[in-house]
Structures are given as structure tokens and as C-alpha cells.
């Protein structure tokens, strides 16, 4: 297995630098790279949309990383994806019912998240953006904990150190630097854990992401940059963010980048395991571009019909990550109807619990405004807290 050659090989293929042909052809090359999405993307794929196990020259080096995956493991991955989708669907419904102020759905991205999430060890640390519900699931974060911020009762609400899963980050790209710094610390500690940072294709335009690439490369930090390229940043297609395929960007920073079929849970697991192993072995950062699709709206407050075509969505529907694993399990006899029926029941139970917990979620106490502004206290906060408490108390019995 040659790690570097993957990084070096891929870009050469898709950007084809034939020098002899002169300026005219150089211009054509520029145009070609400017429209990466018209070209068939080169993907590491292990499971086709029809559910067939495949291996190509591109994926051969990654296949060994899932050689140990048993049929039971496959059922586990399937279960993760189904339950995550159910949770996500329930949250979308709860938003429609007015129980949540907003929801960012992961529909369509289950394989990217479960594949990468299940590649992690307990001592690895995750820096998510705001859509990583599937990764949170893999980390053992109670999914109802994710809803507090969308309901508006807190800005996170879970202890990041319990599951090594940092708070969601809303400002695009910021967390890639936190992940890098954390990874610098891991290396300093001489630990062999790895760090993974999630972000989107839109986020890759942010300066912070470029700075994270720079710092991680320079310090050879054990961090995996996991970009879910779901083709859209709200209404902006990837053409508005980049002119070369995203994974190729890593090369310019001096570390490998790989594009994986983001709807193939097995390939995502394999590639992330590979990247994490590089990190653990002191080989530095990796960029993984999971080529996937956001099936739903960006969040519950946007309307994708305004900016994207139904045909596009339909084409991606045929690549659904859950259906393809189901097809595989059925074709290979890896799961029977009883398994699917039992999972359906489990989904129902989860959905019911999520509904109940959200509806019962209490509003925070008013005085929580003044809590935790500082770790060591602050005279102004103390003064304002006392003033406001006195103000509130002045109403008591007054009405």
C-alpha cells in the first residue's frame, strides 16, 4: 500500500497537465478543471449503489482496512444509519410542529457520518460542525442532547469531554483550527489518539480551513479533515467555492487528499480508518472528501426548490446509502426480514422517546443568563446579576 502515491496519482489524472500542446490547450485544461462536477468524479468505492461489493484500482489500497468487517458489523452499520435517519426525520417533524426553532438535517449523509464515526476509537476527539448527528450517535452522545440548541434552551449542553465530541460549531470552519490545536496537543502529550474535524464544501472556502491545513501540515498534527461535500452550501453549488476538486487541495499543503464515495458506508469506514492510522503513526494530516448529497433542505428554514433541480435530487436518490447496504445485506443473506422488522420497532421507540424528551425539555432559568460567562467570576456580571434579580423581585406580589 503506497499512501503518498494515492495523493500524487489522483490529481495528475483529473487535471492532466500536457505541456507540449501550448497555450490553447492550457486554456482548455483550465476550463476543464473549472467544471469538476461535469466530469465523473474519481471515488473510492467498495459498495455500488446496487449493493455490490467492488474493488477498483482506486479502492484496492483501502479495502484491507475493512477486511475484518463481519456480517454482524454490517448489520450494525445499517442499524446506525437507519436509527440516525429516524432521529433526524423526527427532529425535522418536531421543527414543523414548532417544538424546535430550526433543524439541520443530515438526510443523505448517513454513510459519510456513520462510516467515519465508526472508524474512530474512544480516545479520538471529534470536532463537528452543526449537522453531525450521525457522528454524535457513534460517539454515544444521547441524540436528545443535540436538540437543546435547536430548541433554544442552550448552546450545546453536553460535556464535550464525556464522549470526546466537541460542541457543535455554527461559525463555518472555526472548528478545524480547534481540531488542529487539539491534535497539536495530542502529539505533545505523546498520545496515539487522533482528531477528526468535520466541515462542509462551503466551509472549505473559509480562511480558517486554509490556516488549519497550514498549521496541521507544518506541525505534522494527527488530524483528519473530513469534508462532507454535499454539493451545496445553502443555495451555492460547489462551483461557487472551488475550481479544482476539493480533495486535491491537500496536495498544495503537503498532505494527501482522497475522495471517497460518501454514500458508501464501507468505503467511508475504510478511508477514515486509513487516514486515522496515518495520524496515529505520526504521518500527519489527511483530507478526506466524502462525495455525497444533502437530500433535504440546508436547514428547515430554506427552500431548495429555489436553487436546485429535481432531476439532480432524483439522481442522488438512486445512490441512497441505506438502500444500497440493505440491497447488499439481502443479496448476501446478511440479514433477514426479522432483522429489518425489529429495527423498525427500535426506530419507533427512538422516535417516541425523542418526541417525549423534546416536549418535556424545560426552558432554562432566567438567571442562567449570568451563569458561566466567566470561569473565575467578573465584577460586572455580579453587579448586573444582583440588579436584575432585584428588579425581578420587585414584581413579586406586585401584580
Amino acid at each position: 500500500m503506497t499512501v503518498e502515491s494515492t495523493a500524487a496519482r489522483k490529481p495528475r489524472r483529473s487535471s492532466g497537465t500536457k505541456r507540449a500542446a501550448g497555450a490553447d490547450s492550457a486554456r482548455k485544461t483550465a476550463v476543464a478543471t473549472a467544471q469538476p462536477h461535469d466530469a465523473e468524479p474519481q471515488l473510492v468505492q467498495l459498495l455500488t449503489p446496487e449493493g455490490e461489493r467492488v474493488e477498483s484500482a482506486d479502492s484496492a489500497q483501502f479495502a484491507p482496512f475493512v477486511a475484518d468487517i463481519t456480517t454482524e458489523d454490517l448489520r450494525g452499520l445499517y442499524r446506525d444509519m437507519v436509527l440516525t435517519r429516524r432521529f433526524d426525520g423526527e427532529a425535522t417533524a418536531l421543527q414543523r410542529q414548532g417544538e424546535l426553532g430550526l433543524w439541520a438535517s443530515l438526510l443523505g449523509q448517513e454513510a459519510a457520518q456513520i462510516g467515519s464515526g465508526r472508524a474512530l476509537r474512544d480516545d479520538d476527539y471529534v470536532f463537528p460542525t452543526y449537522r453531525e448527528h450521525g457522528v454524535a450517535w457513534c460517539r454515544g452522545v444521547d441524540p436528545t442532547n443535540l436538540l437543546g440548541m435547536f430548541r433554544g434552551v442552550n448552546h450545546g449542553g453536553w460535556d464535550p469531554n464525556t464522549n470526546n465530541f466537541h460542541l457543535y460549531t455554527i461559525v463555518i470552519g472555526s472548528q478545524t483550527l480547534h481540531a488542529t490545536g487539539y491534535a497539536m496537543g495530542v502529539a505533545k502529550d505523546g498520545a496515539d489518539s487522533a482528531v477528526i474535524a468535520y466541515f462542509g464544501d462551503g466551509a472549505s472556502s473559509q480562511g480558517d480551513v486554509a490556516e488549519a491545513f497550514t498549521f496541521s501540515a507544518v506541525y505534522n498534527s494527527p488530524v483528519v479533515f473530513f469534508c462532507q461535500n454535499n454539493q451545496w452550501a445553502i443555495s451555492e453549488p460547489t462551483e461557487r467555492q472551488m475550481r479544482v476538486p476539493l480533495y486535491q487541495r491537500a496536495q498544495g499543503f503537503g498532505f494527501p487528499g482522497v475522495r471517497v464515495d460518501g454514500n458508501d458506508v464501507l468505503a467511508c469506514l475504510a478511508v477514515t480508518r486509513w487516514a486515522l492510522e496515518r495520524a496515529r503513526n505520526g504521518e500527519g494530516p489527511t483530507l478526506v472528501e466524502a462525495f455525497t448529497y444533502r437530500m433535504g433542505a440546508h436547514t428547515t428554514s430554506d427552500d431548495p426548490t429555489k436553487y436546485r433541480r429535481d432531476e439532480e435530487t432524483a439522481a442522488w436518490e438512486a445512490k441512497d446509502p441505506i438502500l444500497r447496504l440493505k440491497a447488499h445485506l439481502l443479496a448476501t443473506g446478511g440479514a433477514d426480514e426479522a432483522f429489518f422488522a425489529q429495527l423498525e420497532e427500535e426506530s419507533e421507540t427512538l422516535g417516541k422517546r425523542v418526541r417525549e424528551v423534546v416536549r418535556a425539555m424545560p426552558d432554562p432559568d432566567t438567571m442562567a443568563i449570568f451563569e458561566n460567562v466567566y470561569a473565575d467570576g467578573h465584577a460586572l456580571v455580579d453587579e448586573e446579576r444582583a440588579q436584575f434579580a432585584a428588579y425581578l423581585a420587585s414584581f413579586e406580589g406586585g401584580e
Partner: protein, 326 residues
């Protein structure tokens, strides 16, 4: 020997050295802080003695410096980062305001952010654009940050120690034109609390309040006023967030007059907040409106004009006279 005469620069250097010695989790990060020892040599010799793993030359990327410091703090380190000059903090402002300041609150108190951001700030050294600014208000306005500035060597030594020990993020503004001023540092002393104001000179007729580079100007003004028979008290605020209003109030209740002096533009500056609060607290004690002396609402001027721009002895004394005339 416990008491030494040091420049502010050396006091800061000693302070960082002490912090590195005391706590293996303390890291120094920034542009040129390692081999060069910082453009002002505040980190001089530290990399030589503590190694590249503790005193880290970073890429030229301010957001990256603060953003990775946040990550290191999450991992249990206590990064002390240097922003080379005041005007270059803005690429990092996003990380400071949207991330660093809020992490503790967002995590409901589970996460601590012991990050110190050292910024050589303010004017008076004849520098080019973006090297002489006083952006303290922009940080003091942000809940979750603490903002301090020493005016003398002893405070430089002790306040930096205290900032590094703090579990909150501290923006540590260093008055760069005072780096070479000498003062006594007692390394065995019990220092004032980090956010307590200090009476730098006692007086009875009027209080001058200042911090950082302006404290010296105010002490000179008080000395000049004394020759005219006016007794001016000088309060060194030391901290812009929180502000020790109790300490300041005690002084104003004694003198009944207050003039606030800073280099930053007066409009919406730290002085505005002080004027409002002291007016609320001391309304019946005041003999004159609270006056402010500071920078104009204009970009920091070219070096040849900075003597006009910066509040000097005359402008401070003029305000003292105006206050006393009520």
C-alpha cells in the same frame, strides 16, 4: 534578591519564564517568538531554554494562532499567544469573539479557556500604520473576555502571572512605548488582585483615571498640577474588564471630580462607560461632570502627527482645569 529594578520588557520576560518553569502545560505561541524572541524581545531566550515544543514559532496566520490555541486549551494546555502588533489582531478577532470568549458559557461551564493573548499596543513609538492602535474597547465589550493592561514593571511581572493562572481568556495589552521604562519588581511580594484599581498617587482635589501607557502621563500631570497647588489623585485602573468601579468610586467620593484619560478614541471608549457608571454611582458627590481625554474619531495618524494625537501633559492639565472650574 527579591526586589529588582527591571524594564517592563524584562519583567514580562521573567514572568513568562516563571510561568514556563512552574507549569509544564504553559506554552508560548506566535510569530517570531522563538528564535528571534519576539519583535520586542519579550520572549527572548525562552525557546533556547524551554525548546521548540514549548515556545512555538507559528505560521503567519493570526486566526490560526488563536484557533489552535483554543484547541490546545481544550487539550489541557495553557497557551500564551503573542499577536505581534495591535493592528494585526483582527484576522483573529473572529476566533477571539465567536469562539474563545464563549466556550465556557456554551459548554455550561464544562470547558475552561485559559488562554492569554498578549498584544503590544498603543502609540508613541513612531511606527507605521497598524502598529499603534488601542483596540481595548472592542475586547472589553465582549462578555467572556477579560482585558488588562499593566503600566509599570511590577504589574507587568505580576499581572501576566495572574493572567496565565486565570481560567478565563485574558487579553493582555502591553503598552509598547513603556517597554523600556524601569521599575522595581518584588518577586516575593503578594501582588494586588488582577482586576483591582490602584491609587498610583494620592490627592484630594480631583481624580485622574488611566491605564497602560497613560498612567505615566497622568502622574506627570499630577506632579505639574501640584506645583500650582492642586492636589490630583491618579488611579491606575489596570483592568478594563472588569473595571474596579468600587475602587474608582472610593477615589471620586474623596475628590469629587473625575477625568479619564486613554489613548483610544473617546467615542464609545472605556472612558464613556466609566463616565456613565461613575455618574450613576456618585451623582451627589460630583462637583463637575466627568470629563474624558483621549484619541479622536479618526484613524491613528502618521507618526509625525502622533504627538498631536496622543493625549499629552497639556491636554490632561487642560481637562483638570476645566473640571476644577465648575
Amino acid at each position: 534578591m527579591a526586589v529588582q529594578k527591571l524594564t517592563i520588557a524584562k519583567a514580562l520576560n521573567d514572568s513568562l519564564r516563571k510561568a514556563l518553569e512552574t507549569d509544564p502545560k504553559v506554552l508560548i505561541m506566535g510569530e517570531d517568538v522563538g528564535k528571534l524572541g519576539g519583535v520586542f524581545r519579550i520572549t527572548d531566550g525562552l525557546q533556547k531554554d524551554f525548546g521548540e515544543e514549548r515556545v512555538i514559532d507559528t505560521p503567519l496566520a493570526e486566526s490560526g494562532i488563536v484557533g489552535t490555541a483554543i484547541g490546545l486549551a481544550l487539550r489541557g494546555y495553557r497557551p500564551v499567544v503573542e499577536i505581534q502588533f495591535d493592528g494585526f489582531v483582527f484576522p483573529a478577532y473572529d476566533q477571539i469573539v465567536t469562539q474563545l470568549a464563549k466556550m465556557h458559557a456554551r459548554s455550561l461551564g464544562k470547558i475552561k479557556m485559559p488562554v492569554v493573548i498578549r498584544i503590544p499596543y498603543a502609540g508613541g513609538i513612531g511606527a507605521v500604520e497598524h502598529h499603534s492602535e488601542s483596540p481595548e474597547t472592542l475586547f472589553a465589550h465582549v462578555p467572556g473576555l477579560k482585558v488588562v493592561s499593566p503600566s509599570n514593571a511590577s504589574d507587568a511581572y505580576w499581572m501576566l502571572q495572574q493572567a496565565i493562572l486565570s481560567d478565563d481568556p485574558v487579553i493582555f495589552f502591553e503598552p509598547k512605548r513603556r517597554y523600556w521604562d524601569k521599575g522595581e519588581v518584588d518577586v516575593d511580594a503578594i501582588p494586588d488582585a488582577l482586576h483591582a484599581a490602584r491609587v498610583a498617587r494620592a490627592g484630594t482635589d480631583l481624580t485622574l483615571a488611566a491605564y497602560g501607557p497613560m498612567v505615566k502621563v497622568c502622574l506627570e500631570a499630577a506632579a505639574a498640577a501640584a506645583e500650582e497647588g492642586k492636589s490630583v489623585e491618579v488611579v491606575d485602573l489596570r483592568s478594563m474588564s472588569p473595571i474596579d468601579f468600587d475602587g474608582l468610586q472610593a477615589s471620586v467620593e474623596r475628590t469629587r471630580r473625575l477625568v479619564i484619560v486613554h489613548e483610544a478614541p473617546v467615542f464609545l471608549g472605556v472612558g464613556s462607560e466609566i463616565a456613565a457608571r461613575i455618574t450613576e454611582r456618585c451623582f451627589y458627590h460630583l462637583e463637575a461632570p466627568v470629563l474624558r481625554v483621549g484619541g479622536f474619531h479618526a484613524p491613528y495618524p502618521p507618526a509625525r502627527l502622533e504627538d498631536e494625537y496622543l493625549p499629552g501633559l497639556d491636554r490632561v492639565l487642560d481637562a483638570v482645569d476645566r473640571s476644577l472650574a465648575y
